[in-house]
């Protein structure tokens, strides 16, 4: 059974259709990239999966359960199984790195435990282990706003990993980073899939990055799925289709 199966997904804002009839499946352990011009609906697609955005119609089967019909409690449980990484990291800037990482455990805690910040020794050890793994353990007690972009994104990855997720959604994780940090982050994401077997869906706007990292690529254009295949299948013709223009134009841009 596929880990994630999306069927006939539609979403519009007022009269503006953002996603039209999206169908695709994602297998466990896959590294999937979603490409497309800005405004194509990549972020909206990702946000429908963990219901930060409510879809209009369709089905999103995650682990065989339809996410779109879950009640509040079970939605919370499923969200804990899905990590998310953002373009702007979305940390709480005034809090320390370790505090931000532990936020990833809230999905498993009662409201009061969360509000009073009660974490087990195991959870704290795990947080430090992850910081160590991502090479930022020395910054554990620094405030997040004192870190560089690349370091903040690594904190974001730790926060997602401590959830013990089956799936991680990454919305343009490297769009605000310099080339070096971008490579570091992409390498970490790739190793998450390969070493931990966690499935990753990554929104990207750099085609070459998508081609060199992913198993499979999905192309969106104006809310339509126009490409779905292994990365080597994505040739200039397909790229032109995704970006809605001549490839030669794309290269000179």
């Amino acid at each position: 059974m596929a880990l994630l199966e999306i069927r006939g997904l539609n979403k519009s804002y007022q009269d503006h259709r953002v996603l039209t009839n999206i169908d695709f499946t994602v297998e466990t352990g896959e590294f999937l990239s979603v490409i497309g011009p800005s405004g194509a609906g990549k972020s909206t697609l990702l946000r429908c999966i963990n219901r930060l955005v409510e879809a209009d119609s369709g089905e999103i089967l995650f682990n065989g359960e339809n996410i779109l019909t879950l009640g509040r409690k079970s939605l919370r449980k499923e969200r804990a199984n899905i990590g998310m990484i953002f373009q702007h990291y979305n940390l709480v800037p005034r809090l320390t790195v370790i505090e931000n990482v532990l936020h990833g455990r809230f999905g498993y805690k009662s409201t009061l435990q969360g509000m009073f910040g009660i974490f087990s020794e195991e959870e704290k050890e795990r947080a430090f282990y992850l910081l160590e793994k991502l090479g930022i353990a020395e910054h554990a007690y620094k405030r997040c706003d004192q870190l560089s972009g690349g370091q903040q994104q690594r904190v974001g990855i730790c926060r997602a990993l401590i959830q013990d997720p089956k799936l991680i959604l990454c919305d343009e994780p490297i769009a605000s980073l310099d080339p070096h940090s971008s490579k570091v982050i992409m390498d970490y994401l790739k190793s998450i899939t390969e070493e931990m077997g966690i499935t990753c869906i990554v929104n990207l706007h750099q085609v070459e990055v998508a081609q060199s990292y992913s198993h499979r690529i999905i192309g969106l254009n104006k809310g339509h799925l126009v490409f779905n295949g292994p990365n080597r299948q994505l040739d200039t013709h397909h790229i032109g289709e995704v970006y809605g223009m001549d490839t030669r134009e794309l290269i000179t841009v």
């Binding site: 963990n50 930060l52 919370r76 449980k77 499923e78 969200r79 804990a80 899905i82 990590g83 998310m84 953002f86 702007h88 979305n90 940390l91 709480v92 800037p93 005034r94 809090l95 936020h103 990833g104 455990r105 809230f106 999905g107 498993y108 805690k109 409201t111 969360g114 509000m115 910040g117 974001g156 926060r159 959830q163």
Partner: protein
């Protein structure tokens, strides 16, 4: 880039606006028959009167303990009104902010309360409340309280708005509950700014409390009024001096606190 033509028309707009303001000022002066020249002439005379009458002598210092007692009472009342108002505003701010609001009705309600409470001046509140509660310290307290709820709710809402949706979304995505998100993403980020607004309101309220006290017959305002009406101008001067010193002291203290928390 602005084209030259646009820049020129912008210039004319400004000139036009200036002329309108001038006309309006002149018209208003004519209408209320405010004689600018005469008022200018009155300034030296008034200054002379102040120097002659508002002279604090050793005698006046006998009133010092009484005045201090009232002053402390006023400060405590301002602090109490502000902190209790801040507590209420905190909840109104969370239910009204675009980041944290949960339903439109509550949001509209808290915005409405904030707007009504804020747009009526504290003195007007004092006069209105005077009718139903009479001349006592509760009236003064309520007047400050209502005005402060209005101001702080608005300030807190904007502070929470500024925190933005980003951490809120990130924590929601981990499966956190609404209250976990509020207490761990929104509050840590907004609290220092909120405390800063609260300190600002304490300063403002100590100032307003004097004025409100004159109306409600309580606190330092009452003392001021009493000396004023009994023509004890030296004591009036002393009261004024002490109020000024207090306000400065409070302002310095809160600036210190701000430096630490922000």
């Amino acid at each position: 880039m602005l084209t030259d033509q646009k820049r020129l028309s912008r210039k004319w707009q400004h000139l036009f606006l200036l002329i309108i303001v001038c006309c309006f000022t002149w018209l208003s002066i004519e209408m209320v028959q405010f004689d600018f020249y005469q008022s200018l002439l009155a300034i030296p005379t008034a200054g002379l009167w102040m120097v002659e009458n508002l002279w604090i002598t050793a005698d006046t210092w006998r009133e010092f303990p009484d005045i201090m007692l009232k002053l402390v009472e006023t400060i405590l009342m301002s602090v109490a009104a502000t902190t209790i108002a801040a507590f209420i505003s905190f909840f109104l701010g969370i239910s009204g902010s675009t980041t944290t609001r949960r339903n439109g009705l509550m949001a509209g309600l808290s915005r409405g309360i904030a707007s009504v409470a804020r747009n009526i001046p504290v003195v007007a509140w004092a006069l209105i409340l005077l009718l139903s509660f009479g001349q006592n310290s509760l009236t003064g307290f309520l007047a400050l309280f209502v005005g402060t709820v209005g101001f702080l709710t608005r300030a807190f809402m904007e502070t929470i708005d500024e925190v933005g949706l980003k951490p809120f979304e990130a924590l929601t995505a981990t499966g956190a509950t609404y209250f976990q998100v509020i207490s761990k993403a929104v509050i840590p980020q907004a609290l220092p700014q909120m405390l800063s607004w609260m300190l600002f309101m304490i300063e403002t309220n100590i100032r307003s409390a004097t004025l409100v006290g004159i109306l409600t017959g309580t606190g330092i305002g009452y003392t001021f009024d009493l000396y004023y009406k009994t023509l004890n101008y030296e004591a009036v001067a002393l009261v004024t001096l002490l109020i000024i010193l207090t306000v400065i002291a409070i302002e310095l203290t809160s600036n210190r606190i701000r430096k630490v928390i922000l």
